[in-house]
Amino acid sequence: MPEMNLVQAINSGLRGAMRENDDVLVLGEDVGRLGGVFRVTQGLQEEFGADRVIDTPLSESGIIGTAIGMALHGMRPVSEIQFADFIYPGFDQLVSEAAKYRYRTAGEFQVPLVVRTPYGGGIRGGQYHSQSPEALFIHTSGLKVVCPSNPYDAKGLLIEAIRDDDPVIFFEPKRVYRAVKMEVPEEPYVVPLSEAKIVRAGEQVTCVAWGAMLYEAFSAAEEVAKQGIDVEVIDLRTLWPLDVETIVSSVKKTGRLVVVHEAPQTCGFGGELVALVTERAFLYLEAPPCRVTGWDTPFPQTHEQEYLPLAHRIIPAVIETARY
């Protein structure tokens, strides 16, 4: 089995989905000849032609809005938004149109659209190449939100998202695009949506993370293990609809919850996770649920390592929660 990084695995997922279904196509800025600014779509135009791997004009609402039209006709477009920070001109199309089409036509029409977009900090990208806007889309009824952390999951979740009949926002952790390598099958396969994964079993604290921060949570868990604190780490993989059961049963076991995300704290997804767990496992809690997140500021340039909830901030939070 070949080793792939995230970029290669997503590329392989797109290739597989396009080979198995002629209705799948890719559109976005610089995705064709260039192969995408991160090279995620490299080689696809050579294989599938410029009609299926489409270099579009610079208009996010056009990239998403015309893809909605194609999806309404029964195709399965995969739109790339070059950076999640630039998704806002297409926000109206996602929130007002893609998310609501099935509901407002009582299922007569559907929008099987995937919007892929690299998100998150850690690449020295400042305010406009670092954002994590997942909460805005989780808050929108009708959208599914996926955020893989590793190459195997990324390929399987992407293929599943393309086959899914609902619109899916697929956030790709660009900080670890090339940092993680693992064995990934050449052939298409699926990882089901809405299933979280326990990536490190533990008894004392439940730590929930996704995307690039999963690695920080994991290394924090390894670090505190040296001090005898046993952390269970959960990779959400799909943010919405949520696999709340996996989190709740873990917290019922550990009695302690730490949620990690890059996005700002206030009204971030962490707040919702804490609420969901508190409602379902209040009497099991041994400590206040804790959030380790980005600060409530725009994403900074110079001090991004202090903005991000990296292991150096997760470790004390886990220790404090464990010793509460």
Binding site: L25, D51, T56, P57, S59, S61, G62, I64, G65, T66, A67, I68, G69, M70, A71, L72, H73, G74, M75, P77, P89, D92, Q93, S96, E97, K100, Y101, R102, Y103, R104, T105, A106, G107, E108, F109, Q110, S141, G142, K144, D164, D165, D166, S194, P241, L242, V244
Partner: protein, 359 residues
């Protein structure tokens, strides 16, 4: 472009050559739409329906466009074009059920009145944000082209939508990819209260197409034959691979923006009166009378038949129960996720809102 002259005769150089039966059918559909509009307007005033957005004065622009398209072509509506859907044979009862949001409303009470759709009639769904439907129309035509299908797309929008972000995205994508999209712009003079000359600094809306290298036509939108001809010409171009066309339909909204609007605040009685004289129904009726196929008696009979039809639909609609409450929780996703199942059972078990005051 005008085809029907003041006296009801046709300009022989531009006459599209429709049979007299076809012109009668157009007139009948336009009249029916107006009778339905009038009834719905009154129902709203009586508090029996929540809202209505009518097409008074714009019937030629709407019906003429719909008639020039083929059944295989898609219509992407703005929100005033239910006449186009009815032209395609959409059952009036279904529309009236929708206006009442009852159990037979195709969208089971989830949208405010006049937000209709029908896959069967290739009519996408009305949505209230302005201009968002334009890129869909481009994508729909683009998909048809990619799939090698002889299908074109007519998308309706108003003068106000030409200022929206999505208008420019759609115009640009349509020409870059040469999609078979017909941009049917009802320039009815106002975007709620804002007159078209304050909406844009350009002299016409059609000239905006020039910047995108798109063909454009500007026609008398109150002349149903001129509308038909322009839209058919645009359709031909699209079918032959000539790409999109912008059709500016010059018309006038004789009524308010919707039942919630009071146009007396922003325009003069004189202005409205002058446009009443250009009523699209009167224009085509003059022609029919000149051809000796229509008169006052036939007209009165047709209008009362339409009246009776709509009254009957309203009576039935009012007798139907409200949609099931549980319908609020379906179709958010294809399969209902656990959190919605949980919220549904909480809602169904929970306390009910007090009955709304019915007067």
């Amino acid at each position: 472009m005008h085809i029907i002259r003041e006296d009801g005769s046709l300009d022989p150089r531009l006459d599209p050559g429709l049979s007299i039966d076809q012109v009668v059918a157009l007139y009948k559909a336009m009249t029916r739409t107006r009778v339905i509009d009038d009834r719905l307007q009154r129902l709203q005033r009586q508090g029996r329906i929540a809202f209505h957005v009518g097409s008074l004065g714009e019937e030629a622009a709407i019906i003429g466009s719909a008639a020039a398209l083929r059944d295989r072509d898609w219509i992407v509506p703005c929100y005033r074009e239910v006449g186009a859907l009815l032209w395609r044979g959409y059952p009036l009862q279904r529309y009236v059920d929708h206006m009442f949001g009852n159990a037979d409303d195709p969208v089971v009470g989830r949208q405010m009145p006049d937000h209709t759709f029908s896959r069967e009639h290739r009519y996408l769904c009305v949505s209230a944000p302005i201009g968002t439907q334009l890129p869909h129309a481009v994508g729909l035509g683009w998909a048809a082209k990619k799939r090698g299908l002889d299908e074109c797309v007519g998308v309706f929008f108003g003068d106000g939508a030409t200022s929206s972000n999505d208008f420019h995205a759609a115009m640009n994508f349509a020409t870059v990819y040469q999609t078979p999209t017909l941009f049917l712009c009802r320039n009815n003079g106002y975007a709620i209260s804002l007159p078209t000359d304050r909406q844009t600094a350009t002299r016409t809306l059609a000239e905006k197409a020039t910047a995108y290298n798109m063909s454009a036509l500007r026609v008398d939108g109150n002349d149903v034959l001129a509308v038909w001809r322009a839209v058919r010409e645009a359709l031909q171009r699209a079918r032959e691979g000539g790409g999109p066309t912008f059709v500016e339909l010059m018309t006038y909204r004789l009524g308010g923006h919707s039942t919630s609007d009071d146009p007396r605040i922003y325009r003069s009685k004189e202005e409205v009166e002058s446009w009443r004289r250009a009523d699209p129904l009167v224009r085509v009726r003059k022609h029919l009378e000149q051809r000796d196929v229509w008169d006052d008696d036939i007209d009165a009979d047709w209008r009362s038949a339409c009246e009776a039809e709509v009254k009957d639909c309203v009576r039935r609609a009012e007798e139907k129960p409200a949609p099931e409450l549980r319908e609020m929780f379906t179709d958010v996703y294809k399969d209902q996720p656990p959190h919605l199942a949980e919220q549904e059972s909480r809602c169904l078990a929970g306390p009910r809102a007090p009955e709304e005051d019915q007067d």
